[in-house]
Amino acid sequence: MTETSNPVAFTPERLEKVKEIIDRYPAGRQKSALLPVLHIAQEQWGWVSSEVMDYVAGLLDILPVEVYEVATFYTMYHLDAVGKHVIEYCRTGPCCLMGGEDIYDYLKEKLGINAGETTPDGLFTLKEVECLAACGWGPVFQIREKFYMNLTREKVDQIIEELSK
């Protein structure tokens, strides 16, 4: 999941998608495709290594440093290898009002890791994130595209069990 094959290249389907994205923007504005293409890269490799960023720079005909600057600015891009499931836990005020901090402590204890760490079996990486725009349904965490809302200890148990299978 997280290993980078060498040489770095998108699968044919993803490369097709990347070309389609580049075509969305006016001629000469292909740099606009950078954020979406980095998402696709992360989908393929799980994280964005510097080799992957160099590859993306080549596809978009921009300087590698332009990709590094962007990838390090936005929080969604993982710059190090991550586990199979990245739990992005909302730590912002409204979720905390709904008991978010208790559930977070419980989750950390359950997984035996802190923010930024990966479980020894490589299954879970825990990341703290800011507001996920789901405050009315807090506490909330996100794994890939899926939101897990109105979290309770029981729900956390259930989700972790499900994903550990």
Partner: protein, 371 residues
């Protein structure tokens, strides 16, 4: 045919009227006043990020905020307002307050504070000391005390090659070096990584910044974040002597300043104008490789502002008499040094004296605690 003159715009800056071409910024209008009358140099707003020779620089550090007391009839934005003078264009009838407005000066003081809270204040070991814009800015606009009690930010050290030393802890994120690499080199290799107060100048992967004009990032850096490795720890700038010089160079104009310690060329830099800006960038060969007098045609001593520490020790005492008030002040404020004590060299005596002094110091601090 009659020459068509562009319509000039008249503004008032700190009570002084000045006419400038449309599109001129407030900063440039203020500089124009000072260029016409040197005694007005004090009213020009400070610039920590703005750098005229680098288009699109400016607007970031907020050191040059001034108050537009009155805008023009054309601009619907509500005034008065603080605006960055370096990137705000003048408008007919604008009334701008800088040194005449306490709120502006108070804000400027806070900008110094913000820039210093995470700065290491390591001037004693910093090669930029003496020609550091942050030192000048802090000295002119800041406070001698700090209210910051938290831990200062640090960064992992990265190596960006044999010629340039990066000290990220000193950086104020002016972005000048990024614009320099973008605009005068053919391939930018460094940039700003991360964000917020964790943002840093970096190449991300350990890459040497290797480009014929890369050395110019040293000259544009307002602080000691980017310094010349070939000059590192060699000398304090105020002990070195700058000479204007030129050479035949096929890459750049060859116009430079060579800095001497005795007969030795210890550093080469580009020339700076009165605003501390380089108009003619020099190549790395001139900067890093031409370190012999025979490489250069000397033009004479570089004109250095009297207020600059670099001018210290460059004038004969009888030419620059110390003012009377300064001598009096010195006499009242400084204790005469007691030189009558014997000069001790044997290690045993030194050790004993040291223990004795420690005991005295401990005793004093105990006393002060008990009181």
């Amino acid at each position: 045919m009659e020459e068509v003159k562009p319509q000039l715009i008249k503004i008032t800056f700190d009570g002084i009227e000045v006419e400038v071409a449309p599109g001129t910024t407030i900063m440039q209008a203020a500089r124009k006043i000072a260029e016409a009358d040197e005694s007005q140099a004090g009213l020009v707003p400070p610039a920590m990020c703005y750098y005229k020779p680098l288009p699109s620089s400016g607007g970031k550090c907020r050191a040059c905020l001034v108050r537009v007391a009155q805008g023009s009839a054309k601009d619907p934005r509500p005034m008065p307002k603080l605006v960055p003078s370096c990137i705000t264009q003048v408008q007919e009838g604008m009334v701008v307050e800088n040194t005449t407005n306490d709120a502006v000066l108070e804000t400027r003081k806070s900008i110094v504070e913000f820039l210093l809270i995470n700065h290491p204040l390591d001037c004693p070991i910093c090669d930029q000391a003496g020609e550091c814009h942050l030192q000048d800015f802090a000295f002119e606009h800041g406070s001698a005390k700090t209210r910051y009690e938290e831990e200062r930010r640090t960064f992992d050290k990265i190596d960006i090659g044999p010629n340039i030393q990066l000290h990220m802890t000193r950086c104020i994120l002016c972005y000048r070096c990024v614009y320099t690499a973008d605009q005068i080199t053919n391939k930018r290799e460094h940039g700003v990584m991360g964000r917020g107060d964790a943002a840093e100048i970096s190449t991300y992967i350990s890459n040497a910044i290797d480009n014929e004009f890369s050395g110019n990032v040293i000259d544009v850096c307002p602080v000691g974040a980017l310094t010349d490795k070939t000059f590192r720890f060699k000398n304090r700038v105020w002990f070195s002597k700058p000479e204007d010089a030129h050479c035949e160079c096929d890459k750049c104009s060859g116009k430079a300043i060579v800095w001497y310690r005795g007969d030795e060329v210890i550093r080469v830099t580009a020339r700076k104008n009165v605003w501390g800006e380089v108009n003619e960038f020099i190549c790395n060969t001139c900067r890093f490789d031409r370190k012999k007098t025979s490489d250069w045609v000397l033009e004479g001593p570089t004109k250095v502002k009297r207020s600059s520490v670099i001018s210290a020790n460059k004038y004969r005492a009888n030419l620059v008499p110390k003012p009377d008030f300064a001598m009096k002040l010195a006499a009242t404020q400084f204790k005469p040094i007691d030189d009558s004590r014997p000069y001790v060299t044997d290690t045993e005596t030194i050790r004993e004296q040291s223990i004795e002094n420690n005991d005295k110091a401990n005793h004093r601090s105990l006393l002060s605690q008990n009181n």
